[in-house]
């Protein structure tokens, strides 16, 4: 099997799985459905591994043109957009994450969804999602990427609204889709601009066409492309101002949250920016805007996370915040660390979500952390893996989050587009992260058990189920947790800081991720180094210092959280009461939803109503309906001339005829 065919198979097998589950296996036993769905991801995972360690490792770029998709004459030539797939070192990473984490989550979901009816739908959507995500990362041009870009949006829409019987879920899905659409418009415009500027949408061709000269001559256009891409990223990767959909998206089943809203889909923005890095770096404005947006999002979302009580909501805001870190990384020019954080985040956030799911599953869809506590005794595997995840995310030294986040923060200070202020924002976000994650973990797994035995079940799709003792979930659910926990521990070593490397005596110029991605980022590096004389302006001591500072902040905040909440969920009340207004504002998520509702949605609705009632009904229809009335007035006068007597008409004919002949005579 050659690599081209393998590439195609990676893309198409999940689609096949989706079609099988969606159409043929509707009434198949659950086991069959789950196995088909999982295999449809696992086989591509094997292929991905083969590709990863085969040609990609060797530095090749595998490309295959499946068919000619769009072909239009354009400006004397031809605008050909093939359905082309390509895998290079960047997409290979994502390929592994998507298929690998995807397989684990499929496995997990098979157990998690065991109480559901008609589960084929869920797995069809999930496979379809993987297909879309793969076409997003494998697409060799922007249009194929866009296919995946929107495709993941749709799948996310369908999965968020999976339990559609509750209208709130469906609304959440709709919100996600529309927020994504706003971003997609940005992507679309970016595409149009690249067509205008380069006459192509193929990444490699754009890269080839984009010379420094061209960039200099078309600086506004480049900036516009960058900003439009950023709009796309804010939509898909839930950045300010379009992040609002992600917390609501937690309405979907938890495996979905893990796969889509933590590990894969939301990170596609980072992928896109890395993919287009060679272009973005030409615009200082765009890069700075990206960095600022990222940093602000990181802090902003983290503040909301501080006070949430829903286990998934906390994780959701945490995701937004972490995505902000990644965007910040990209924005300051450290694309490789953005990708690294993407990877580690995929591990530990998926782990956290799955852990949360495990808890929810065991608690029969109870999500309020105030009603949990002490679960670690009943669910040891879930509990301890969750703790590992928490440590990873808060950046406990040695775990994966520590390395990737630290590199981003370091570059936020020293990177080509970095600034200490950005670092400060990032560090603030990291502090908040430590606080809320520790709060969450402690309240759920430690302390007194606050489980209400008589609580009403509001399970989705369950007509009735028995309340039984909370206990550890079966292996199908815990195995992914353990694997992900392992990856969360070791995953960070790919982006080990220089300083540590030197200390450890690793003799390499760059850390693994930088080395790995250097072909992809080569041209961007070149531009950045040209723009700033030398790469970065940091030093080993600065690096150590920043590392120490963030570790310190993490420890302090964790300790603070522990001390506050060791008495239970009421532990934070005193502070909350002290800053009452602010607390409620944050609890209401800064009332951003309400702001949008009041400033954008409602006025638009009013405009629509006005258009309909005034524009259509009154104005246009008025003119149309009143016009004939005037005509009627005129015609009614004329119609009186008609007497209705045939002989009168004939007399006219007669006279006319005689007169005609008389005229001939004369």
């Amino acid at each position: 099997m050659n690599y081209q065919a393998m590439l195609a198979a990676i893309l198409l097998i999940p689609l096949l799985g989706a079609l099988l589950n969606g159409f043929l296996l509707r009434s198949a036993p659950r086991v069959v459905t789950v196995s088909v769905a999982t295999l449809a991801i696992f086989i591509p995972f094997i292929f991905s591994c083969l590709l990863f360690f085969g040609p990609v490792n060797a530095g090749e770029v595998v490309r295959t043109d499946l068919f000619n998709w769009i072909s239009v004459p354009f400006q004397g030539g031809h605008l050909d957009i093939p359905f082309a797939l390509t895998v290079d070192r960047l997409s290979a990473i994502l390929l592994l994450i998507i298929t690998g984490v995807g397989s684990l989550i499929h496995l997990y979901a098979g157990e998690y969804m065991s109480h559901e009816e008609g589960v084929y739908r869920f797995f069809a959507y999930l496979n379809l999602f993987v297909f879309s995500m793969l076409s997003l990362v494998l697409g060799a041009n922007m249009v194929v990427t866009f296919l995946g870009w929107e495709g993941v949006g749709v799948c996310s829409y369908l999965l968020i609204g999976y339990w559609y019987s509750d209208e709130a879920n469906a609304r959440a899905g709709m919100k996600a889709f529309i927020a994504n659409r706003v971003g997609d418009l940005g992507f679309l415009l970016a595409m149009f601009m690249s067509v205008k500027l380069f006459g192509t949408v193929d990444y490699s061709k754009i890269a080839a066409a984009l010379t420094n000269e061209l960039a200099a001559n078309n600086a506004p256009m480049i900036t516009a492309i960058g900003l439009c891409l950023l709009l796309g990223v804010t939509g898909k990767s839930a950045q300010l101002p379009l992040y609002i959909w992600l917390p609501d998206a937690m309405a979907g089943p938890t495996p979905v949250s893990a796969l889509i809203h933590a590990a894969t889909m939301v990170t596609s923005g980072i992928y896109l920016m890395t993919r287009m890095s060679f272009l973005l770096v030409h615009s200082h404005t765009a890069m700075t805007t990206i960095a600022v947006i990222g940093a602000c999002t990181a802090l902003f979302a983290a503040t909301i996370g501080l006070v949430q009580n829903d286990i998934k909501k906390v994780l959701a805001y945490s995701t937004v915040s972490q995505l902000g870190f990644m965007v910040l990384g990209c924005g300051v020019g450290a694309f490789q660390f953005g990708v690294a954080h993407l990877m580690t985040h995929a591990f530990f956030k998926a782990l956290l979500f799955l852990g949360a799911g495990s808890v929810i599953h065991a608690m029969h869809h109870e999500q309020d952390i105030r009603k949990m506590g002490g679960l670690i005794k009943k669910m040891p595997i879930t509990g301890w893996t969750f703790v590992i995840g928490t440590l990873a995310i808060i950046g406990f030294p040695g775990l994966s989050g520590f390395f990737s986040k630290d590199e981003i923060l370091y570059n936020a200070w020293t990177g080509p587009f970095g600034h200490p202020l950005l670092w400060a924002l990032g560090a603030g976000a990291a502090a908040c992260t430590s606080f809320y994650m520790v709060r969450l973990t402690y309240l759920v797994f430690f302390g007194e058990s606050r489980v209400e035995h008589a609580h009403g079940h509001h399970g989705h799709g369950h007509d009735h189920h028995h309340h039984h003792e909370i206990h550890e979930n079966p292996l199908a659910m815990t195995l992914p947790l353990m694997i992900l926990a392992l990856l969360s521990i070791v995953g960070g070593y790919v982006s080990m800081p220089h300083a540590i490397m030197h200390t450890l005596g690793v003799h390499a110029n760059e850390n693994i991720i930088t080395e790995w991605l250097s072909p992809v980022l080569a041209s961007a590096k070149e531009v950045m180094s040209a723009g700033h004389g030398e790469e970065g302006h940091g030093s080993a001591s600065l690096e150590w210092g920043l590392m120490g500072a963030s570790t310190l902040v993490m420890l302090i905040m964790s300790g603070f959280a522990l001390s506050l909440y060791k008495v239970g969920p009421k532990g934070g009340d005193s502070i909350a009461n002290a800053v009452g207004g602010l607390y409620r504002l944050i609890l209401d998520k800064w009332r951003i939803d309400e702001l949008y509702q009041g400033v954008i949605i409602e006025p638009l609705k009013k405009v629509g109503d006005a258009f309909f009632k005034f524009g259509d009904r009154a104005l246009i229809e008025g003119i149309i309906n009143e016009g004939p009335r005037g005509i009627y007035l005129v015609t009614s006068v004329l119609s009186d001339v008609q007497s209705g007597l045939v002989r009168n008409y004939l007399k006219v004919v007669f006279i006319a005829m005689v007169a005609l002949c008389a005229w001939i005579l004369i």
Binding site: F74, Y164, F192, I624
Partner: protein, 522 residues
């Protein structure tokens, strides 16, 4: 043999449905008549496949042409028909949609079945005639002939306010077409003045019209464009559409949205733009502005509707705005996108109307609030609804995406700001379509009456599945489809950019003698 068929195929396509209409008149039983109508339309589809099979994709000429004497020689009015890249796709759209509509009408039409079927076949005949005619008078005849069956279809089988709706529809369209007639007559006269002979051949008149002074061109362009804009319908002329759609029976809505509206854009593409390139250039900003306004305006209104059909009707206003915008981008991307979007809109909106018809037949209401949660009771219905919605919101992978992408891309190349505003239509499109889905498909199944609803019958499922397949097929197979149109688009671009006459010629397959004359000579 093949050349013989190629020579007569268009006439066959035009007149075969008429024959079917006559046959239906002879049949006694309603059910037999329905079968017969389906059979006729399927045969028509099979005939039309000949066009695809033998179309020369490398040529921009009018193929399968036929040029026969019609009215007395001195008038220059001839029976000239032919197909090029522009009309080919639309003819195929028509022949594909019609059988589906007939299949769907098994349950949606219960009174005066035979008249309905006969009228519908006449309509099909007129639509194909209008798409392939290359003589202004012939075109005009078919153009008006489309109106009559539709008038009755809405007026007889429509909803409560059908008479109002159908009269409005009729008057709007007739006013437009009279303007067009005036413009054509003037052009006819001008040609006579310049060349000393009368002709109504569109191909000949391209040459005459392109040479006219700019002001004349602008006037003539405006007159024809208004006629076509009413049919499209473009923004200020659109108010007939929601009424007509809401009142029309399901098959009527489908064909109205699927094909009839395309006649307007087709007319712009075939007549207004290539005939009066100078005028078109002058009017382009206005046309673009109107279409962009239409996109946003239609979308916003659609969002606020509570009547499902009205929502989809306004969405048509919005979608057709894209098409017109694409036409006036004046580059190949725009034209191709517009043409492609015509086809896609026909498929996806046709599917939506059929879907509305399915529930309307069961519940006899189109109020959104009456529905909700249908996914539980009707999973397949929900599936088709989603597919049609996705087609309508131009999701990549559906044909709508390629259409809108090309259009917006084309417009962006010339008018970036307009394209950006039009792009918001993409967002608004998602908003109102998903709103519709939310209110109809998702949510709890609250209404007691909805708990008894049956899922799609095999017949309905067949129709909807066919359309769904088309939604995706057009999304991936665009390159081979668009290859047929490429030379035509290039020619169009040449003529528009250079403000020169649109050049094309008739390709008459086989011998060109007129058989009647041959018979008379013996």
């Amino acid at each position: 043999m093949v050349s013989m068929i190629s020579q007569w195929i268009l006439s066959l396509l035009i007149f075969f449905p008429l024959l079917g209409a006559v046959l239906i008149g002879l049949v006694k039983d309603n059910q037999t008549a329905r079968h017969l109508a389906v059979a006729v339309s399927v045969l028509e589809l099979i005939f039309s496949l000949h066009l695809v099979a033998h179309f020369n994709a490398d040529s921009a000429a009018m193929q399968f042409a036929q040029d026969l004497a019609w009215l007395p020689r001195g008038t220059g009015i001839r029976y000239t028909v032919g197909v090029d890249g522009i009309s080919l796709l639309l003819v195929m759209l028509t022949t594909v949609l019609c059988p589906l509509v007939f299949v769907s009408s098994y349950s949606s039409i219960e009174s005066n079945v035979k008249s309905f079927l006969a009228l519908f076949l006449i309509l099909e005949s007129a639509m194909i005639g209008a798409l392939v005619s290359l003589d202004l008078v012939l075109f005009y005849v078919f153009w008006e002939a489309m109106l009559i069956p539709m008038y009755f279809i809405i007026g007889v089988w429509g909803g409560k306010d059908r008479i109002y709706a159908t009269t409005k529809f009729f008057i709007y369209t007739v006013i437009g077409s009279l303007l067009m007639l005036v413009a054509f007559s003037y052009l006819y006269y001008l040609h006579y003045q310049q060349n000393g002979v009368f002709t109504t051949s569109i191909i000949e008149l391209y040459k005459t019209a392109a040479g006219l002074p700019a002001d004349t061109q602008l006037w003539l362009f405006t007159a024809t464009a208004v006629a076509f804009a009413i049919k499209v319908p473009l923004f200020p002329f659109h108010t007939w559409l929601p009424d007509a759609h809401v009142q029309a029976p399901t098959p009527g809505s489908v064909i109205l949205a699927g094909v009839l509206l395309k006649m307007g854009t087709y007319g712009l593409m075939r007549m207004s733009i290539p005939m009066f390139p100078e005028g078109a250039h002058r009017a382009a900003p206005v046309m673009l502005a109107l279409s962009v306004i239409g996109i946003v305006y239609g979308a916003l209104i659609a969002w606020r509707q509570t009547d499902i059909k009205k929502l989809v009707a306004y969405s048509s206003v919005s979608h057709l705005g894209f098409v017109v915008a694409g036409l006036f981008a004046f580059n190949e991307l725009g034209y191709t996108g517009a043409l492609y979007q015509m086809v896609n809109h026909g498929v996806s909106t046709g599917a939506l109307f059929l879907l509305i018809g399915v529930v309307y037949e069961r519940r006899h209401t189109r109020e959104m609030s009456e529905y909700g949660g249908l996914a539980k009771q009707m999973p397949w219905y929900a599936f088709f609804f989603l597919v049609a919605t996705m087609g309508s919101v131009a999701l990549p992978g559906t044909g709508g995406f390629i259409g809108e992408w090309l259009i917006l891309n084309g417009v962006f190349q010339t008018y970036p700001a307009m394209a950006t505003v039009a792009g918001t239509g993409v967002i608004l499109g998602a908003i109102y379509m998903l709103w519709l889905v939310l209110k109809v498909i998702w949510g709890p199944l609250k209404n007691e009456e909805n708990k008894k609803l049956l899922d799609c019958s095999p017949r309905e499922a067949f129709v909807l599945a066919t359309l769904s397949i088309f939604v995706f097929l057009t999304g991936f197979l665009s390159a081979p489809l668009l290859a047929h149109t490429e030379p035509t688009m290039k020619r169009l671009q040449e003529s528009v950019v250079n403000k020169a006459a649109y050049k094309t010629e008739l390709v008459i397959h086989g011998r060109s003698q007129e058989p009647l004359k041959v018979m008379m000579d013996h």
